[in-house]
């Protein structure tokens, strides 16, 4: 990876700033079509869940072929999900997930 990700950061600013600024600087942005608002509300959980699931369940081998993976990581992610769902504490969830994976790997589970 090289410093060219700075350009990606700038482009990410370019696509994230409008959603932050439009409502603040121009009136009427709170009157989007209802269906658009509802769709936007749902994109966040869908993208994040897809990212988490793909990261934990799919492994791309040296041959470039994706394969399904089962491992201690599933439990770690599930525990994090449960902690956040129950106590709404992401930090605690992350600590628990890391601890589970570290202990599991030390015990030869993964």
């Amino acid at each position: 990876m090289s410093g060219n990700l700075v350009l990606l950061a700038i482009l990410m600013f370019a696509v994230t700033y409008p959603s932050r600024a439009l409502g603040l600087v121009s009136p009427g942005m709170d009157r989007l079509p209802k269906i658009a608002v509802e769709y936007l509300q749902l994109v966040g959980p869908a993208v994040l869940a897809a990212l988490a699931a793909v990261t934990v369940m799919v492994v791309v081998g040296d041959d470039g072929q994706p394969t399904f993976r089962v491992g201690i990581e599933w439990i770690a992610v599930f525990v994090c999900l449960a902690i956040v769902g129950r106590w709404r504490n992401l930090l605690l969830g992350l600590v628990a997930a890391v601890a589970i994976v570290a202990i599991g790997r030390a015990g030869g589970l993964a």
Binding site: M1, M12, S19, R20, D30, A50, L51, A53, G85, V101
Partner: protein, 292 residues
């Protein structure tokens, strides 16, 4: 520095005492930002980001979950246009936040509001709105305390620490550092699940993401899951969605920010404070959110 909200009820003075609670509540956010920022720094380093790359993301994009997601996108080899589309969609909820917060800051010059916009995050929204509602009016300095002091600074310091100190960890995989990214993603998603639709979008998004990834690779799978999941979820009628915290409200930001600091009691207390003040002056309550 206080900025009256629209039809703002009480012209309450905003002084150090009024902001004390903002700071107290914000301390939990600071701790979360430090931990999450550090985790992002570690994940970015693990993905091969340089210090400049990681810091550029945190300073220029300053997008929390979208930054962490970008680490995953880059790792999966996703093309930049796809990364940008997903980033824009992931951050589109800020449109609702900015529209909600605007009435409280409407008297400020547009330029100042345009600068403030860059620092608008889920957590900044949650802190600011709770503060505004508590004091019954907008407060520019309070916004900067929430968005800048409580978030931007700790987030960036923690990013720097994570990406620099990550090099001192001999074998990050043994310590389970690599689980931080997916765990953070699912944790953030959980914070957004405030009804059946959100839950359905997440479950379907994950299932489609994995299925398509196995057939066409992770980059396409993630995009497919993120775009199709919401479409399926929209099939659930709104009347049975059991939405408890619609996006764009303080409650939703509270869920998303996952600080564990905004208790329901505190929120109810804030509501009561505003109502009591409004009753005293017979003014109207400021709006709570967009009419979505």
């Amino acid at each position: 520095m206080g900025v009256p909200g629209p039809a703002s009820g009480p012209p309450a003075a905003t002084g150090p005492i009024d902001r004390r609670r903002l700071v107290t509540e914000g301390l939990g956010i600071v701790v979360t930002a430090l931990g999450f920022g550090f985790a992002y720094g570690l994940a970015a380093r693990d993905a091969g980001f340089t210090v400049i790359d990681a810091m550029a993301m945190s300073v220029i994009a300053f997008a929390g979950a979208a930054e962490l997601a970008a680490v995953g996108y880059v790792l999966s080899g996703m093309a930049w246009p796809a990364i940008l589309v997903l980033t824009a969609l992931l951050n589109a909820r800020h449109l609702l936040y900015s529209a909600t917060i605007r009435p409280w800051l409407a008297d400020l010059p547009v330029r100042r509001r345009a600068v403030m916009a860059h620092f608008l995050t889920d957590e900044a929204f949650a802190l600011s709105m709770a503060h505004f509602r508590r004091i019954g009016r907008g407060d520019e300095r309070g916004y900067w305390i929430a968005a800048g002091v409580m978030l931007f600074i700790p987030w960036n310091l923690a990013t720097l620490a994570g990406v620099v100190l990550g090099g001192q960890i001999p074998d990050p995989s043994k310590l389970g550092i690599d689980i931080i990214f997916p765990a953070a993603m699912i944790g953030l998603a959980a914070g957004m699940m405030t009804g059946r639709r959100e839950l359905t979008a997440a479950v379907v998004g994950a299932a489609i993401g994995v299925a398509v990834s196995l057939m066409a690779g992770p980059p396409i799978g993630i995009v497919a899951g993120g775009l199709i999941g919401p479409l399926v979820a929209l099939a659930i009628p709104a009347r049975v969605a059991h939405e408890t915290a619609p996006l764009g409200t303080v409650a939703s930001a509270e869920h998303y920010a996952t600080p564990g600091e905004f208790s329901a009691a505190a929120e109810a207390e804030a509501e009561a404070d505003v109502r009591a003040a409004a009753d005293t002056t017979e003014g109207d309550l400021p709006p709570e959110g967009p009419s979505t």
